[in-house]
Amino acid sequence: MPEPMLALSGVNTHIAQYHILHGVAFEVPRGGLTMLLGRNGAGKTTCLRTVMGLWRASAGSIRIDGHDVSRATTPDVAQLGVAYVPENMGIFAGLTVRENLLLAARSGAPDARRLEWIFGLFPAMQKFWNALAGNLSGGQKQMLAVARAIIEPRKLLLVDEPTKGLAPAIIANMVEAFRELKRTDTTMLVVEQNFNFARSLGDTVAVMDSGRIVHTGGMDALAADGALQTRLLGLSLDSHQ
């Protein structure tokens, strides 16, 4: 069995005096899309930030592509080929779309073919190429945040609530973009509250509650089990049809 792209084992995270993650352990298989689900405050964002090195794990092990990054700095994690789209999107409002993408292309000017591919996923990026990112709509900012994360091929993409606050048409665009991304080699770990989005894209799933992983498995199995959904998430996917 191939080594997982991301493996967390016994990860604890403290923020000031608060103990947020309690022995978090799960794996993200290579090449697939893993959904990290859970109620508000379950620790999903903290989990992503801990993987990214933005908050330091106080105990446990985090391995990315075989490298131990438990004590790594954020730039070290990023340079392993990890891209991160935070919940607030983290776009640079005072920079243009072009400058946002240029900055994310660490190896120099973005590859023209890659850029064309991104314009195919998110046509608004081409349309608003020279616009200030701060002037974009919420959906366009989310597209920019994802586009920035994939401006160069990445091994692992960490995305925090990509559909949060977006209109249905934009969510549909986002679903298509993630489907296209799944055809590449990129492994993805996506935190999501929109269950239909999660079900339509997820290959595997990890569910968190109170800073702990309470379920891991295939997305299909969770989607088919209304009782499990209700127990883990407080409501059933069926109620979102």
């Binding site: 990214m52 933005l54 700095t73 954020t74 730039p75 990023a78 340079q79 991160y84 935070p86 607030n88 983290g90 776009i91 640079f92 409002a93 005072g94 920079l95 243009t96 072009r98 400058e99 993408l101 240029l102 900055l103 994310a104 292309a105 660490r106 000017a109 973005p110 023209a112 850029l115 314009f119 081409q126 349309k127 608003f128 190429w129 020279n130 616009a131 200030l132 701060g134 002037n135 974009l136 920035r148």
Partner: protein
């Protein structure tokens, strides 16, 4: 490194929310100047005061621009910035007082042979001190404003005393080079050569900073870092190295401003930087924390207002700066050109 990237095949400029120049803050500069004209009464006096105000504004900009970047990028309240100004001034004075023969030659080339090394010494000395401050004093207190205030105020006091130890307690007179001494007359207005030189140097510094920030990858990183340092790190860049670079560059600029200010005052003393600190903080706040463009406009506004008020009601000169800050913050609470910090 150039930031030029392949533009998409379709020109998007016609399609979009157009980014318009935010002109009202810029319009304040001519507005203040024109408003002062009837109050001053005499056109030649107004021209003289306006050039003096612009020169003062340029020098304040040089001293303040580094502080605004340090504020914006590193979220550091550096009350020791004044000591970089003083040390820069002493560095320049040390060179200039040893090159009096070149400065009295009444030739531009000879004057430059003294001034260029003096300015370089000012930048290098202040930059070196800035590096020491960042490594030893600032680094342990990142993220803690109270400790930053205490330790940088302490640093200011200690290094002012260190200046007395190295250069002595007395004020050092600093004669200007011959070619930028005196004034030339345009119509009936007397314009000091040194002030014109200060305006030109200030414009060159602003243009260089603008090009660096807007046309290079380093500048792109600095602008992004001012907005959201955490995201810059998440993209794989080591922001700490950028912090050190910006702190050293900002200190060097303060040293350059200190050298210019010392030649303007024709003397050097250890407290000269600390004395400018209130005005510098006002300019940084007016411009918007982290905004170099805002700092430039704010410095010119303060320079002009101080000179007009100094002529019309000398006792109100500092008060005019505070009044402008209050009015600007009532109009734009985050400064003239606020940076969208995450």
């Amino acid at each position: 490194m150039s930031t030029a990237a392949a533009a998409p095949a379709q020109d998007p400029a016609s399609a979009l929310p157009v980014t318009r120049l935010d002109w009202p803050p810029l319009a304040l500069i001519p507005a203040i100047a024109l408003a002062a004209l009837p109050l001053v009464g005499s056109l030649p006096t107004w021209v003289t005061l306006t050039v003096a105000g612009l020169a003062m504004g340029m020098m304040i900009f040089m001293m303040a621009s580094g502080l605004t970047l340090v504020f914006g990028l590193m979220d550091v309240l550096n009350f020791a910035h004044g000591v970089f100004i003083s040390v820069g001034a002493y560095g320049a004075a040390t060179v200039l007082t040893r090159m009096t023969r070149q400065m009295q030659a009444e030739s531009l080339a000879s004057d430059l042979s003294a001034m260029v090394p003096a300015v370089l010494a000012a930048i290098a000395l202040a930059g070196l001190l800035g590096w020491f401050f960042e490594r030893v004093l600032i680094r342990p207190v990142y993220g803690d404003h109270l400790k930053q205030i205490l330790i940088t105020m302490g640093g200011l006091i200690v290094f002012e005393q260190a200046i007395h130890v190295v250069w002595g307690p007395d004020i050092i007179p600093l004669p200007r080079p011959g070619t930028i001494t005196g004034a030339f007359i345009i119509g009936e207005a007397a314009i000091e050569r040194y002030r014109m030189a200060a305006v030109i140097v200030g414009l060159v510094v602003f243009a260089a900073m603008w090009l660096l920030l807007n046309r290079t990858r380093i500048g792109l990183l600095v602008r992004a870092g001012v907005e959201n340092p955490e995201m810059v790190e998440s993209l794989g860049y080591r922001i700490r190295r950028l912090f050190v670079g910006v702190f050293v560059a900002g200190s060097g600029l303060a040293g350059l401003g200190g050298a210019m200010w010392a030649m303007y005052q024709e003397q050097v003393n250890a407290q000269m930087g600390a004395q400018m600190l209130v005005v510098i903080f006002i300019v940084v706040i007016i411009g918007g924390l982290g905004s170099v463009g805002g700092c430039f406009v704010g410095a010119l506004l303060i320079g002009l207002a101080t000179n007009y008020t100094g002529y019309l009601a000398p006792k109100l000169a500092l008060g005019s700066s505070i009044l402008i800050m209050v009015l600007v913050l009532l109009w734009r609470p985050r400064g003239l050109y606020p940076i969208g910090r995450a």
